[in-house]
């Protein structure tokens, strides 16, 4: 910036920096603490932030290796952490893809078509989603138990049931995408209609390419939302090999025997897919995709 600034401004810059550092510290501390715990020998939650002694024992367990403890006994991994991680990634990816597909098509209808009860539907969906989902747990369990009797692939203990349950939570995403669609000038699509495009072609070839950033945002949000989801997954999945990491890592903290170190390693591991998805999506989250289409 080449704008001339006054003396007073320097103080503001200092204050801003101080504030940002403080904020950063508050945000980063828990993360660093978890990383630190996962690298400390023994299963203790407290200790120095910078470990005095680095031990990879928790990481070995998390990654499925055994290690020989200080007392000479071999310690085998108590839980299949990598399998859980894989389950999580599978469920979250499929859910996020389906959520994006459902909510963009629904948002297109809400943004561009005229039909009866449109606003009641929109508001109703949002209202329903405002109830804590925990309140519906009993119902969700009952529904999938019943469904499972007829369609075993959709019953309790299947990942399909979890994914379908997650698809219920698209209302906020529909709102987000609808809001974005409404900022895109309608003339562009109208021109496509005059050019001979069907509704589907208009949606797919004209509107969607302009909406890539918001689709990515929704994908990331849906991915994060489903990969960290606990209540629904915990009632639909019980058997060890079916669990997602969010549900499974709770096992470290059971039986009055808190394995903080192992838990921390699994926690750091669970952050990995989120980070990767975010980094991959970031490239697509850019502004200005619609610029140049219409005159100012």
């Amino acid at each position: 910036m080449a704008i001339v600034t006054g003396k007073k401004n320097q103080w503001r810059v200092w204050a801003t920096h101080a504030f940002l550092w403080a904020l950063l510290a508050v945000m980063l501390f828990p993360l660093l603490a978890v990383v630190s715990i996962s690298l400390r020998p023994g299963n203790f939650s407290t200790g120095a932030l910078i470990p005095t002694e680095i031990s990879l024992e928790h990481w070995k367990l998390a990654l499925g290796f055994s290690y020989v403890g200080s007392d000479g006994k071999e310690v085998t991994p108590p839980f299949p952490v990598l399998l859980w991680l894989w389950n999580s990634i599978k469920v979250a990816t499929i859910s996020a893809v389906l959520i994006v597909a459902l909510s963009t098509t629904a948002a297109y209808a809400f943004a561009r078509f005229k039909f009866k009860y449109k606003s009641s539907l929109l508001n109703g969906m949002l209202l329903l989603e405002m109830f804590p989902r925990v309140l519906a747990l009993v119902a969700i369990f009952a529904i999938f138990e019943r469904l499972g009797a007829h369609f075993p692939w959709l019953g309790i203990e299947t990942h399909a049931s979890v994914i379908v349950a997650y698809l219920g939570g698209v209302a906020t995403h529909i709102w987000t995408i609808k809001g974005y669609f409404e900022t895109i000038p309608q003339e562009i699509e109208e021109n496509a209609r005059v050019d001979g495009a069907t509704h589907w072609q208009t949606f797919y070839r004209v509107l969607l390419p302009m909406a890539v950033p918001i689709l990515m945002v929704v994908f990331v949000l849906a991915f994060i939302g489903t990969i960290i989801e606990y209540p629904i997954a915990s009632i639909l999945l019980r058997e060890e090999q079916n669990l997602t990491l969010a549900v499974g890592s709770k096992y470290y903290l059971a039986d009055q025997k808190y394995l903080w170190g192992d838990f921390a390693a699994a926690a750091v591991l669970s952050g990995l897919p989120i980070t990767l998805v975010f980094l991959a999506a970031q490239k697509w989250i850019v502004s200005g995709l619609t610029s140049g289409g219409v005159k100012g």
Partner: protein, 371 residues
Amino acid sequence: MAGVKLANVQKSFADVHVLKDINLQINDGEFVVFVGPSGCGKSTLLRTIAGLEEITSGTLHIGTELVNDVPPSDRGVAMVFQSYALYPHMNLFDNMAFGLQLAKVPKDEIAKLVHSAAKTLNIDHLLDRKPKALSGGQRQRVAIGRAIVRKPDVFLFDEPLSNLDTELRVRMRYEFAKLHEDLKTTMIYVTHDQVEAMTLADRIVVLRDGRIEQVGTPMELYENPVNEFVAGFIGSPRMNFLKGEIANVQGDEASVKLTNGTTVNAKISSPASSSIAQVNLGVRPENIRIDNQSKSVACPVKFVESLGSQTQIYCEMPGMEELLTVVVNGTVRVKAGDIVPLAWNSDDCYVFGADGKALTQRTTQAMRAAA
């Protein structure tokens, strides 16, 4: 190629009645311009022809086909929007080729059509670019090019030149004229701009508040407006209107007594108006001259706008509320505060009744030519 025929077309949005009983026949190959004040329904009328709005009642024919319920893509129309509405994520080639691709035209044929249109519009060196990387004028050409390549029966242009600078407008105006001459396709063109309307149109349609006020060639509208609105709308600067009442009618010659007591003669052709009636006397600024003669009125000058080739003088007529606009040659030097003698011919006056209807009928140039 096709004409367009609208009969009793009405259009309402919920409870907003936008188009009111539109009857209009546009001939094959004609260049028709819609003008009218902002919000009068020009874009809406164009969009109903395109099929982007359903008409509430009435019939719309394109060619011989009734198209009330035909989707836009099957109407054989191409539209250039008020905003250009380019596809921002496609390069220029794809922008222009999109319609053809949807119509499953063979690839090499598409390339040929696009390149030839681009060449005509002088954008063939930009085909790889995205719309973002273009100037306003270039975007405009892409929008036009996109319409041309589809070889429509009817072109619809919604204020295509607004937002361009004056120089570019003039050049593009010429290009529109040339385009019409080359393609000889029916074109319907919406504009705010007097000059565009007068220069491009075979016929002008003047709209007000969702109704057609008058349809005619540019000179017909200029010489023979059917009412005060059209008279004020066509011609720039706008016609002067002076309030008065008819004092006396002899044959086709009426004396109009202005509110300041002056009596002015004017031609009228509706004899029914011989009763004493409130009227408006209309005189075009270009028909008033600075002239010292017995009938001249001495008017103080309020302010002056010099445009170089011509000078617009705004005068106060003694005893009248309305300012009088006068257009004179740019060589005439007057300044505010001067008192100038103004005169005009009674032949150049128009008389409008209290309801705004013109009481003056002229022999137009067209009629004179025919006679």
